[in-house]
């Protein structure tokens, strides 16, 4: 079959899937708009998975159909375009470009390579370790991705790996996915590393699930550190970079650093701006300031100083595409939740588990909770919609509440790569151009399966020991 025929077949299949769901009788307990929006959303996600349409095309079509069919009002359908988190991603893209353009990124890359650069695997581990160390200070994994992305980009470009078909796999594609996968673990390691973690504890308190910074770290340490020790190597094996060994790279990097001399004025401006941004992101909760406003202020300083020009921004066409598809999927998923679809699924599933032994119920609840993230575009929204429902069901079935509570909240972090749109923290990497949609889905699924297996096999006995 020719590629053209394959694509046509995929498009027909996706259209048939959407139509079949749309015209099925609405399940009892749902409303027609919720069911029809599910049909549109399922067809959209399926079309990206089977390669019927690129993600932007699928999203734009879905938005048009949702409004023209009357499933969503225009006001609701376009709400994602003013969402603060999505705007933060857009601005972080532009700030990262400034870091690379002025040479600061290259300098940063040389510094990391001089320390860890004997192999690409070493660079992968350095990204994971850096993220794990800085994570407790960042309550937003999206903001943290704004720190890791320029580093991965600089390391890739420094290694001669650009976002083009000829060189992206030298090391850039591997390092970029590391910058995405690391967030799934660092967010689970610390209570304060992801916005949904403390929200989950607040919800869980009502059914006797309590946690603190210390008890969270104790509970998460064994499964998360085990996964952290293996995941960079696993990704290296299944998605090997073309450049593996670089024994001479540390010395070359030190030499290049010396040749670069002291920081230029532009580098100093960008560095100072970025450091202040990072500090404000880290202290945003304490100072009660908005993360996106910090990003906009930083971008404003970079533009005013000339470190970034309007021409630079004009060259970032991918930013607009990323902004559009993510805002649309974010909106569709949010509306699916608002129309009661997510809660409906959770409650129906809970009702079907009656009579099972607690261990079987526990495994099914965790797995179902993870799989349902295919329908979400925000981890925090997932916690708010389903965590309380699943924890309540588990408690009724005799599952130890602290064990299930921690397992579900860790899963909320572990599944962050299950789809490219599963977390706003993925979007910078997804938009980098280093990874294809197919690679993102494949690697994301493998990472999620690995993380969840570690949680179930290693984490569950540990949780039974320390979280009862």
């Amino acid at each position: 079959m020719t590629p053209g025929a394959k694509t046509l077949l995929a498009r027909v299949g996706v259209l048939a899937l959407g139509a079949a769901i749309w015209f099925c009788p609405v399940p009892e307990g749902l409303t027609p708009p919720a069911w029809h929006l599910f049909a549109i959303f399922a067809a959209t996600i399926a079309s990206v998975i089977v390669g019927a349409f690129p993600i932007l095309t699928a999203s734009v079509l879905a938005l048009g159909i949702s409004v023209l069919s009357g499933v969503l009002t225009p006001a609701k359908a376009y709400a994602g375009f003013s969402n603060g988190t999505i705007l933060l991603i857009v601005v972080a893209f532009l700030v990262a470009r400034a870091i690379v353009k002025c040479g600061l990124g290259q300098r940063l890359g040389h510094l990391v390579v001089s320390l860890f650069g004997r192999s690409t695997l070493g660079l992968g581990y350095s990204i994971f370790l850096l993220d794990a160390v800085i994570a407790p200070a960042f309550p937003s994994d999206t903001a943290r991705s704004g720190v890791l992305y320029p580093l991965a980009l600089s390391l890739a470009e420094g290694g001669g790996s650009k976002a083009d078909e000829a060189t992206r796999k030298k090391m850039g594609a591997y390092l970029m996915f590391c910058a995405m996968a690391t967030l799934s673990l660092s967010s689970a390691l610390w209570l304060t590393a992801m916005a949904g973690n403390p929200l989950g504890l607040e919800i869980g308190r009502t059914v006797g699930f309590k946690g603190s910074f210390g008890s969270w770290l104790l509970a998460s340490s064994v499964p998360t550190l085990c996964a952290l020790a293996v995941l960079p190597l696993l990704l290296y094996k299944i998605f090997p970079p073309e450049v593996k060994k670089t024994p001479e790279a540390p010395a070359a990097a030190r030499k290049a650093l010396a040749a670069m001399g002291p920081l230029s004025v532009e580098e100093r401006i960008v560095a100072a701006t970025f450091v202040v941004m990072v500090l404000l992101w880290a202290l945003a909760g304490t100072l009660k300031i908005d993360l996106t406003a910090v990003a906009f202020a930083g971008l404003g300083v970079l533009l005013a100083s000339g470190a970034l020009t309007l021409k630079d921004i004009g060259q970032q066409g991918d930013v607009l595409a990323t902004f559009m598809w993510f805002a649309i999927l974010y909106t569709l998923s949010g509306q699916l939740n608002a129309l009661g679809f997510m809660g409906f699924l959770g409650q129906r599933l809970g009702g079907a588990l009656g009579g099972l032994p607690w261990l079987a119920a526990y495994v099914i609840l965790v797995l179902a909770y993870v799989v349902l993230h295919y329908l979400f575009v925000s981890q925090t929204a997932h916690v708010l919609a389903l965590f309380g429902v699943f924890l309540g069901v588990g408690a009724q079935l005799g599952v130890p509440v602290p064990v299930l509570g921690f397992a579900l909240l860790f899963s909320t972090c572990y599944f962050s790569t299950i789809t490219p749109q599963a977390s706003s923290a993925n979007v910078l990497v997804v938009g980098s151009g280093y990874l294809t949609q197919g690679e993102l889905y494949r690697l994301g699924t493998i990472t999620t399966v690995f993380n969840v297996l570690v949680l179930l096999i290693v984490g569950t006995p540990w949780l039974l020991l320390v979280a009862r």
């Binding site: 009892e28 307990g29 749902l30 929200l199 059914v207 939740n337 409906f344 708010l384």
Partner: protein
Amino acid sequence: MRLRPALRGVLLASAASLLGLRAGAGQPAAEGWRPFTATWTLSGQRSVLATEGERPASIVSLSGPLTITGGEGLGRGFLGQVIGFDDGAVLLVGRAVFSDEHGDRIFCTLKAESIGTGRRAAATVTGGTGRYAGLEGSFSFAWQYVVDTDGGEVTGRAMNIEGRTRQGPSAKGGGNP
């Protein structure tokens, strides 16, 4: 032998029950009340306005699935939507609408303590459309949890909702719109 009044009452009630003479048992159609239990998970937005007290006044707009867990006459579940005004001190008043898979709806008024974990609420069914035309009844619940997030989003869950409904006199002889 003289029986204590309380014991005598129990025995008489038991005997009457066995004979089908318990009050109302022989006339369920006349009364027509059907009890139900449910759970309700809600999420939405809260817009706040400062007050002189500790808590702000707010307008809440919430929606989410109401799952019927027991009883009869109401199907398996609804999408429940609420709009309410919380005065920040003692009271929330509002309206709720429950829609089923056919688009048929049940309308309610809501009176509640200020929205928050553990607080109680009560609703009165004021009517409906389609198969719920002329429905009347009431239900009450306590919030298992209510969580506010930074962006004005609010999520809550009500467990152990208990209530009853019946077709009111206005529903007699049809009335589907």
